[in-house]
């Protein structure tokens, strides 16, 4: 199962990437644990998480080709 991860704002500085292709994560908690291990500074970062462009508040199931986006506080305008 392939998952697209999009990384924005200062999180892209932390991870050094603005996207990742990952496999075999079944929910967002799993995915975030994995990212926290890979990039320990992410644990302290404030951000929201969107699955297929909808912001999620709780652990959410992922499907083949789900897009998970990591969204720091917005600062447009």
């Amino acid at each position: 199962m392939s998952i697209n991860v999009l990384i924005f704002g200062h999180l892209a500085d932390i991870t050094g990437k603005d996207s990742l292709q990952l496999r075999d994560f079944h929910d967002t908690d799993q995915l975030i644990d994995h990212l926290n291990n890979l990039f320990p500074s992410m644990k302290k970062a404030r951000y929201a998480c969107a699955v297929d462009q909808k912001i999620i508040r709780t652990n959410t199931q992922l499907r083949e080709d789900s897009t998970v986006a990591l969204l720091p506080p917005f600062s447009g305008g």
Partner: protein, 147 residues
């Protein structure tokens, strides 16, 4: 006018005064309109730790932002009797003194245009996945926080 599907609100770099004039001029044919309200965001030369901002570099989750703007638009049209709404946001580098956000609402009488414009600006700032990076003269930067 209402839209059937999300429109792309993003334009490269600054919004030019000429673009704004053109947008205003196009409304001359809509003779039911009596009032326009316009909000413009302009990039400030803030001084942070003795370094002066020379511009802001904007990035966005474009698809999601356009979709969210479509929802905001539907809400605002539902809530206020406005004739039209136009929103443009910059992507990429916008220098200090240049315009990075253009929100434009129109209605037969003034109150709905004014209220719709203000509410749309607040919602854009809160709800659109857009990020600004303040660039200093030495090309160092910091992610914009205050909003």
């Amino acid at each position: 006018m209402k839209q059937k599907e999300p429109k792309n609100i993003f334009i490269r770099n600054a919004v030019s005064p000429a673009f704004i004039a053109e947008s205003i001029g196009k409304h001359g044919e809509k003779t039911g309109i009596g009032a326009h309200s316009i909000f413009l965001g302009q990039v400030r030369a803030d001084v942070i730790d003795n370094k002066t901002v020379t511009g802001i570099e904007y990035t966005a989750y474009e698809d999601m932002a356009n979709q969210q703007m479509f929802l905001i638009r539907e809400d605002i049209f539902e809530k206020y009797p406005i004739t039209c709404m136009h929103v443009y946001h910059s992507l990429g580098r916008v220098g200090t003194g240049e315009i990075c956000l253009f929100v434009f609402t129109s209605s037969p009488h003034r109150k709905p245009a004014i209220d719709a414009c203000e509410e749309t600006v607040e919602r854009i700032k809160k709800e659109l996945p857009v990020w600004g990076r303040e660039i200093f003269a030495d090309e160092s930067y910091q992610w914009k926080k205050d909003n």
